[in-house]
Amino acid sequence: MQTSVEIAGGKVQSPSLLLSNRARLRQRIAAVLGNGFLLAVTSFSMLAVLFIFIFIARDALPFFQHNGLREFFTSTHWYPSAGEPEFGALAMFFGSAIVTFGAILVAVPLGIAAAVCLSDVIPFALRQFVKPIIEMLAAIPSVAYGFFALVVFAPLLQQQGGHLLAVAVWIIGLPSAVLVIIVLSDVAGDRLSDRFQSWARWGIIIILGSGALFGLMVIGKSLSALRIASGTNAFNVSIILGIMALPTIVSVSEDALQSVGRELREGSYALGATRAETIVKIVLPAARSGILAAVILGVMRAIGETMVVWMASGNASQIPQPWYNMLDPVRTLTATIAGDMGEADQVTGSSRYHVLFAMAFCLLVFSFVCNLVSERFIRRSRQKAGG
């Protein structure tokens, strides 16, 4: 503002370019008005957030007034259309939680590994090809993921689920077992005197190796024999939601890793650390808050997702037996809102209608809190990088 006014106004010598007082006043008023208009338009999003809270809460309140909090949060009896309706949503809360937990279990290790790889391992030219892949994963509509989960993945799980799980366990288990054995043999070898070292090392490798192989075989066998009653279950949804949350986690944590300065890395290298040690011991701790923010954003993406869970979670409002059994169908808050509104819409104003708003309100509050926390984390990581 300052520069333009000065140049347009006073300091120019040619008299024809001087503005009269009135013109200058007019200009200033126009500037203030324009500024106000822009601010008004910009605060539209603030208004939208406010209205969302107000209107969801307005329709959620009657439910809490009428039915109280206790049944909603502690009971698993969900019979909204019975003669004496029961609105226990605990099973839905549990369903949302377990599905999100599963998704995070899939997405966080993969996402952080991919982010590290993108920022520190692969060359820049290759990165240009990987980024579009991540963007495409993020762009595929959720209903297409849901369709895949329901039509392709669920039958596959139902028919070949056990074998798939066994293969997955081998793929993950074998390399990690090899690594653990190498490290253990090394560490144990160091403690002994030179004479026994190689003997001890080979002994450990053979004993642990055969033990690990045996363990993997037993687990693989028992998993292969596993029969999955229904392909639409929490496991299916967790995998798909994990894939959907990956792009968010990768891009946010990659940003966090990038914002850790070169100096830290170079200092660590100069002390003789390998790349892995540098990243695990120096870079990741420095980028901790940014990565936490990434995880929180991933959680938000998974818990707010509707179509995939609606199509492929089985929609059974129950807590699985035992509770950690991911192969049972579950039902989530989002899927309940989407599925029950069709019927509840006819009787606007009934408890059946308001209970869905109550669920939405819980989701809203949760995502709001998550958002505040992740924002704080992101800000902190920026400050660290800047300072």
């Binding site: 333009s4 894939i243 892995a276 509707t306 989002t334 939405a360």
Partner: protein
Amino acid sequence: MNLKTRKILDRAFAGSGVFSILLMTAALVVILVPMLIRGWGAIYFTATVEHRHLMLERFDRGNPERVADELNSTRETRAPLYRMITEFEKQLETSDSESRKRYTTPLRELKKAIHDLLGPAPGAIRPMLMRDQYGQMRWGRALVKLRNVLYREEWDYSDPTRGGIKALKPRAAEFTGTPVEPLCAYLENNLTDMMLPRRTLYWQFLTDNSYDSHFFGGIWPEILGTFYLAVGAMLFAIPLGLIAAIYLTEYARETRLIGMLRTCISTLAGVPSIVFGLFGLAFFINTLKVSSSKSVLAGSLTLALMILPTLIRASEEAIRAVPHTYKEAALSLGAGRWHTVMSVILPAALPGILTGIVISMGRAAGETAPIIFTAAVSVGKPLALWQVFSQPTPALSWNIYNLATEHEAVDEIRHVQYGMVLVLVSLVLILNLAAIILRARVSKRLKG
């Protein structure tokens, strides 16, 4: 630890990163490939004579004489089937009640199975439902139906610990010693002549209306509905998003109010999509009453709210990416701030802003949850432009869900579902690809 182990660990660490990236790529391929291949199958497939019959009757397409010739020739090859059945029925009328009782149900089931495969018998009354008026359009489905004619499914529930076990019983064995006995063999051997399968490119799948709850025809109403919703959402979101981005980058000082605004924008980005749907229902429809019930307008408004934060962020980034020198040059030439923004910064940021617009448009087109309560219906005619203010519309995203889960014959119309997924996914991916290319060109230009 000695150096060797540390090196191995380092390699393994890098390997796990590469592995996860490969896994992501594999996930993308595994998800996309079946959709692309089977979706393409909705457009390019082996069509039977029934398909050409339908095209001629309902859409006036194809050569009438040739189709009539084909119908005649298939009628001739089909005739022995129906002759066998009528002969057997006559025989049954004169036979004792014992054998009548024995054969009535199997014969009815057989006739039903044949009807499912070939359509109504010649001379029969034309059924009411369109799906009963024609035989199988697609050779793949015809083969499935053929198996239903040849074999009867039997489910064995004797073992309660497991689910039912399916067994296939050949139908021919039920009719040993009757005139119908050779029917199955005849059908199996001559099905090609009865159906005249031929590879067909049915590109009108994209532009045809659907008939009889998506059993026949194309997906034009859905494509049009998605288009209306996405474009409508952009119409509302672009002005708001652009102005907000300009204000936040060029005018706003970092006061507490602006900090709150930014928090609100990121909160808006984090609101679950289904909550947007409920809000659209409670606010736009029940409170503002922009339309009496669901409408494209209400859906567009809801979608616009949802993509607003994405749009603001993308435009902000694009504007920030414009080099400071541009702005300084404009200001030093005596341009006012608004003038600078409009004539220098926006044109320079335009490709970046376009990238954001294109990506958000893809997102608006693909979202389902916000339009469930505000805009989407499962069956409908394509809307005229003036109807968008009051009428709900079918949309690709909603109908993929609807046809895959709530349709009465999910398996019969798999090809339609895959076709819709193909169209939606390629629409979104093409938009994103355009954005990626745009951005690559922009970054090159801003660098050079």
